[in-house]
């Protein structure tokens, strides 16, 4: 099992915002974006868009989707599924849970139903 990363307190990531867990601070070696969706839930995807070089954490978060800041590909936050062009590859998901008001990330552990497990 991957090492769990304590990302932040629930209140520290406003809804509609995301924070990046640096690749050097998690076992996957890749930057991971942790999103606080407007639904109140937390999700995590690889931060780099599967199309070109853009940080999904800088994207627009709405419902359970994030829209890439560069060319507007949308990804489902729940499953990582790519929902439109120009990206054609889904994003990798990582399990997130909230325990005692802390947002805990399980790097490298894809969520159930992930489009790209």
């Amino acid at each position: 099992m991957a090492q769990i990363v304590d990302v932040a307190g629930v209140g520290e990531i406003p809804e509609g915002e995301a924070v990046v867990v640096d690749g050097s601070a998690n076992e996957t070696g890749r930057d991971i974006a942790v999103f606080h969706a407007e639904t109140g839930e937390f999700f995590a995807l690889d931060d780099e868009c599967t199309h070109e070089t853009a940080s999904l954490a800088d994207g627009w978060i709405e419902g359970d989707r994030v829209e890439c800041p560069l060319h507007a590909t949308e990804f489902c936050l729940r499953t990582g599924k790519v929902l439109c062009l120009p990206a054609t590859e889904s994003a990798r998901t990582h399990k997130v849970e909230v325990v005692d008001g802390r947002v805990l990330l399980h790097p490298g552990e894809s969520v159930e139903g992930a489009d790209r497990p």
């Binding site: 509609g16 070109e52 800088d58 994207g59 627009w60 560069l70 507007a72 062009l85 054609t88």
Partner: protein
């Protein structure tokens, strides 16, 4: 789900629209025959050709949406990569479907034909264009690769046309250390795309970053060395001085009485590195209608594009007049005026309630959306609601985004948003206080917020728009007050 599906669909063109169409048909449960034809081969994206690909940051493989196996797995037949261009289509005798004829003589039949043929360069390419040194369009990988090979420190590149593609190419060329001259008939360029205020700012960036900007119309490109020069060029021997770059540029500046900035030495001081002819003779000479001229090693035409609607025109389908910009006239789902003929992407042109062609909007996302909508309609499904349109462009390191209808409107106002880094957004607010359009600079969330505000159609808080302290999200979702 049980709506009848066409037995066979032939998609002509494999740009973003053609690709989206075949992809969407599959996702929507299409089980019939599906064929896509494009002489350029596997479906490919275009915007990176003047950006990442030109910069050398993206390969030809990466431009393809999918590899061959993807199409094979889905039983989609892709015909192309050679001379397999569709030369004509016509309704079959019994009108049960279409016949398409390839340049190589092959004949294809399909119940439904979808035209996704995109655009062709606008305007006749003038004399001299036969030269290896004149790139007459930036549309294919081949064009972009030619330009890329030409770019090196000191290469004198003249770009004809300061629109979206010309401007992007200019900024990428600077990155190679090229000496870039950009000529456009108007100053600023691209007012229709950005509105005057944003266009002004964007056009001014060129000179700020070291592009020599000229305003005028190019009459022709001459080749003082004569290699491959078009015949008519010989009729003006006085305009063919085998001359040093320096003198030509001095002449250009003086002759036109240009303000500072033109002929300011950006090109004057450059020694010829290309060609290896061993003397300072520019291989090309760009000549404007007003007589000014200057030397160049390479020239790129980026003078815009027109819908490649000739297949529909020849087949007798309704198309917009050429003077009106052309385009296959379609309904909201992409149906053309003949049975089982559809058009999507840049070649298609919607009509307003009175049947008059809507303004052309040849941008990437719109092409993709139109194909999605056509796929839905072909499958008897409902298309998605579409909000304000959007496109992006990258120049001089800035990610520019345009949503809705930017520009100045009667009775309305223009709202600017700037922060310590400079301008972030230019908003066009209508007479009723509603947001009509916006141009944003390096601020993705601002663009997305603007898009949502436009879709709401309600009066906007202009003060908040102008205030960089109000976050993009808060523009859309005002903070709770307690």
């Amino acid at each position: 789900m049980s709506a009848p599906q066409p037995a066979s669909v032939l998609v002509i063109g494999g740009g973003p629209a053609g690709y989206t169409l075949v992809d969407q048909l599959g996702l929507r449960g299409y089980r019939g025959e599906l064929t896509l034809v494009d002489p350029l081969g596997l479906p490919m994206d275009r915007p990176p050709l003047s950006k990442e690909f030109l910069r050398g940051a993206m390969s030809e493989e990466e431009l393809r949406f999918r590899e061959a196996e993807w199409f094979e797995e889905r039983s989609i037949t892709v015909i192309g990569s050679g001379v397999e261009e569709i030369a004509g289509v016509r309704l079959a005798e019994d009108a049960a479907g279409w016949e398409a004829f390839l340049l190589n003589g092959q004949r294809l039949v399909a119940e439904v034909v979808v035209l996704a043929t995109g655009v062709a360069p606008a305007g006749a390419v003038p004399e001299g264009a036969l030269s290896e040194r004149v790139i007459t369009q930036l549309y294919t990988v081949h064009d972009a690769a030619r330009l890329r090979r030409a770019l090196a420190p000191g290469t004198r590149l003249s770009i004809i046309g300061g629109g979206l593609v010309g401007a992007e190419a200019a900024s990428v060329a600077l990155g190679y250390g090229a000496e870039v001259t950009l000529v456009n008939p108007s100053d600023p360029a691209a007012v229709r795309s950005f509105g005057a205020v944003a266009a002004e700012r964007l056009h001014a960036l060129h000179a700020e970053r070291g592009v020599r900007v000229e305003t005028g119309r190019v009459a022709r490109i001459e080749q003082p060395g004569g290699v491959g020069a078009a015949g008519a060029a010989g009729a003006e021997p006085s305009l063919l001085p085998v001359d040093a770059v320096g003198r030509a540029d001095a002449g250009a500046g003086a002759g036109a009485g240009e303000a500072a900035g033109a002929g300011d030495g950006a090109v004057l001081g450059v020694g010829v590195v290309a060609g290896g002819e061993g003397q300072a003779v520019a291989p090309l000479r760009v000549v404007l209608e007003d007589g000014r001229s200057w030397g160049a090693d390479y020239a790129l035409y980026a003078t815009g594009a027109v819908p490649r609607d000739d297949l529909a025109r020849d087949a007798g389908a309704a198309v917009a007049a050429l003077e009106d910009g052309g385009g296959v006239l379609v309904d909201a789902s992409g149906r053309a005026s003949l049975p089982n003929l559809w058009a999507v992407g840049d070649v298609a042109r919607g009509v307003d309630a009175d049947g008059a062609p809507l303004p052309l909007h040849a941008h990437w996302e719109a092409a993709m959306h139109s194909a999605e909508d056509a796929a839905a309609a072909l499958m008897g499904q409902f298309p998605e609601e579409r909000g304000a349109r959007w496109f992006w462009s990258d120049r001089h390191g800035e990610h520019v985004e345009v949503v809705g209808h930017p520009g100045e409107v009667a009775g309305g106002r223009t709202v600017l948003r700037s922060d310590a880094r400079g301008a972030r957004g230019v908003f066009s607010v209508g007479a009723g206080g509603e947001l009509l359009g916006a141009v944003t600079f390096d601020d993705a969330r601002l663009a997305r917020a603007a898009r949502r505000l436009i879709d709401r159609g309600a009066p906007v808080d202009a003060e908040a728009l102008a205030d960089p302290e109000v976050s993009a999200r808060d523009l859309v979702r005002p903070p709770r007050r307690d």
